[in-house]
């Protein structure tokens, strides 16, 4: 139709914000609160949504996705909570060390890849560590519309369980905390057994916890569609590798500490993306030729697709070996 030809932008729409507060929550977790630079209210969002934060680290542009964990009913602020990870590629460390109250940064509009199933009669949440964040906004949303929920939250210790205190105070009968240092464990089978028909469960935490909930639920006969998960996939560092971008006629080298997607962007090539964490499918890229080994880390491609080596998700996946040519 092309009524008004417009260039489709990669990523999603952005908002200019000011860091209005930087609040230590635990020894490892810091909350960043944002207000809009133009003073307008934020767009409403749904529980489980995330935003991608752009950080300018010298000449390096970092983009990391974080769950929005403020109350969806409060459009005056957005908040994220960032766990400091000293072994990763440095995004969270940069947030902790270099982003301060008063800074102006850019974030994307909310994107939700982990939303509540509103047909559910009841919602059971399993959080591991920083995996608590999406449930903060889901709980806020269910509070507003009067939903039935309970939370099982596992943390290393009570002191490291971000927001455990506020949650337990506000919802003493719905929130259950399990601390590793007290040798407490989520009684998963008991919880998942005997739930009313139409219950949905959601898990967010380390990969091991996610697969534990999925497999336990499956063995108890839960329908797959009633078990929802969000993994926190950050791109992993790896050996540098070279890539030929055919459409743009460029050859680039992906550095040890950057993702393939970041290297493509650094070369000035506009590539689509949304979650930057291997789950939305937006950055899917066709492989023209490849001679080497793919290190697929995404949740998007089917196993057969990963094995076929005809597609790669550049936000999290890497490559080892000789030649890789992409249709980008």
């Amino acid at each position: 139709m092309s009524a008004a030809p417009q260039k489709t932008k990669s990523g999603s729409e952005t908002l200019n914000v000011v860091v209005s507060a930087k609040v230590p929550v635990t020894d490892l977790v810091t909350r960043f609160e944002f207000t809009r630079t133009d003073g307008a209210p934020f767009p409403p969002f749904s529980g489980g949504a995330h935003t991608v934060v752009t950080m300018q680290d010298g000449d390096r542009t970092r983009m990391n996705a974080y769950s929005l964990m403020s109350d969806p009913a409060d459009l005056g602020i957005y908040a994220i909570s960032v766990r400091r990870d000293d072994t990763g590629r440095g995004g969270s460390k940069f947030m902790h060390e270099h982003v301060a109250a008063g800074d102006e940064i850019t974030i994307t509009y909310p994107v939700n890849l982990f939303s509540l199933d509103l047909t559910a009669k009841k919602h059971i949440f399993f959080a591991g560590g920083i995996g608590i964040t999406p449930f903060m906004s889901m709980i806020g949303q269910l509070d507003q519309i009067g939903g039935n929920w309970e939370l099982h939250y596992s943390a290393r210790s009570a002191a490291l369980g971000a927001y455990a205190d506020v949650l337990r105070e506000k919802y003493p009968h719905k929130v259950h905390l399990y601390c590793d240092d007290a040798d407490q464990h989520i009684p998963l089978e008991a919880i998942l057994s005997g739930q009313p028909l139409g219950t949905h469960t959601y898990v967010c935490g380390p990969e091991g916890m996610i697969s534990w909930v999925h497999s336990t639920a499956a063995s108890l006969g839960w329908p797959e569609a009633h078990v929802h998960s969000e993994a926190f996939l950050a791109p992993e560092p790896g050996q540098p590798f070279e890539v030929r971008l055919c459409k743009s006629d460029k050859t680039i080298t992906v550095g040890e500490n950057e993702s393939l997607l970041e290297a493509i962007e650094r070369a000035g090539v506009d590539a689509p993306f949304l979650c930057r964490g291997g789950s939305c499918g937006m950055c899917e890229t066709d492989v023209v030729t490849a001679d080497g080994t793919f290190l697929h880390r995404d949740y998007w491609l089917e196993q057969e697709e990963q094995a076929a080596g005809k597609k790669i998700m550049p936000c999290v996946s890497r490559f080892l070996g000789g030649v890789l040519e992409l249709d980008r």
Binding site: A3, A4, P43, F45, N112
Partner: protein, 355 residues
């Protein structure tokens, strides 16, 4: 500009008319001289001034009469508007989206005052001035979906997104091209599209679903679809097929220019913020053959498209029997000259009819 609203009907005596303004801005759906199904989607963020693409929810001269027609349909068949229980939140999302958009885009026609959850909505063309509590259904005369779509041209489907699919779980459907909400309610994307020919084999619906599930807040999309309707009927529903289906046999070479209408749907897609559902407004525009022929480029092109359209599509769209008569009429307006690319009339640059 201020809009002069028509007083007209879409039934019985069919007094519906397009002004010159409405004809020039008609969303002619063919950007080239042939047509096949495709994933013809683009971003919905404005368009040329005065075009139907300019505003988020276009309001035109037919507004008041279309709303009157919708009220008649609902009165006879309340099931044209349905919302499964989990879709109430999406209904509020849609109400907010439309009220905010219309009050910003048409400040002379619509006003919205918000003080926390206390909202006042003023709709001048329809003479409405209501105060209500946002998210409290008891403060509105209808549910939020029905309330706002009784005041908005076009049909509205609300799709819940779950299990990697979209589910038709709510809607206001009174101006549809021969499909039924009551039949489709609760179906998923592939189920309700099952009757469409060729597109499944072409892989279009798989791509379309992926595209729709990735529509994000703040970045709406749009596409056009089209069909043919004899007489300017908004309500061409299966429920009422016995009333309008037979009218297709009333075409004659003498009346075809006035009676035969091209029916275009401007479909838009919005991610709804609170429910994470997808809103799918389907806005219907009608234009008679004889009015379309006042634009030489459209005359040339419509003849070629109708002539070369695959039989499957002409059958599905319900005009295969009338196609020969249409072609007799349309061929008078095709002089064989080339046409410019794109959907717009290009009246200044395209030559007048050379025969």
């Amino acid at each position: 500009m201020t809009i002069q609203f028509n007083d007209e009907t879409f039934r019985d005596d069919y007094s519906f008319r397009n002004s010159d303004w409405a004809i020039k801005r008609f969303p002619f759906p063919f950007h080239e001289d042939s047509y096949m199904y495709s994933m013809n989607a683009e971003q919905h963020r404005g368009g040329p001034a005065g075009s139907v693409f300019e505003k988020r929810f276009d309001v035109d001269e037919h507004y008041i009469s279309e709303m009157r027609d919708r009220a008649i349909v609902l009165d006879q068949d309340p099931l044209r508007c349905q919302s499964l229980p989990h879709m109430t939140l999406a209904g509020w999302d849609l109400l907010e989206l439309i009220m905010v958009s219309k009050s910003e885009d048409y400040p002379d026609l619509f006003e919205l005052y918000r003080d926390g959850a206390q909202w006042r909505w003023v709709n001048k063309p329809l003479g409405i001035d209501d105060t209500f509590t946002f998210m409290d259904e008891t403060t509105l005369p209808y549910g939020p979906l029905e309330y706002i779509t009784r005041q908005s041209q076009g049909d509205f489907a609300l799709l819940d997104q779950r299990e990697n699919n979209l589910w038709m779980d709510a809607g206001m459907i009174t101006t549809q091209a021969d499909w039924s909400l009551d039949f489709d309610i609760g179906m998923n994307f592939f189920e309700w599209h099952a009757p469409v020919p060729l597109a499944h084999e072409m892989g279009i619906f798989k791509r379309a679903l992926k595209f729709l599930m990735n529509i994000q807040q703040g970045a709406p999309g749009r596409r056009l679809n089209w069909t043919m309707t004899v007489n300017p009927l908004l309500d061409t529903s299966p429920e009422n097929y016995h009333k309008w289906g037979i009218q297709k046999t009333s075409l004659t070479p003498e009346n075809i220019g006035a009676k035969q209408h091209v029916r275009v749907e401007l479909q838009t897609f919005y991610r709804l913020p609170r429910s994470n559902a997808l809103a799918f407004p389907i806005r219907c525009y009608l234009c008679s053959f004889q009015d379309l022929m006042t634009v030489p480029k459209w005359g040339r092109r419509l003849h070629r498209v109708v002539r070369d359209l695959p039989v499957e599509l002409a059958t599905y769209k319900g005009f295969i029997d009338n196609r020969p008569m249409m072609l007799d009429y349309l061929s008078q307006f095709d002089d064989g000259l080339p046409t410019s690319f794109g959907v717009f009339p290009d009246l200044d640059s395209e030559p007048p009819l050379q025969k």
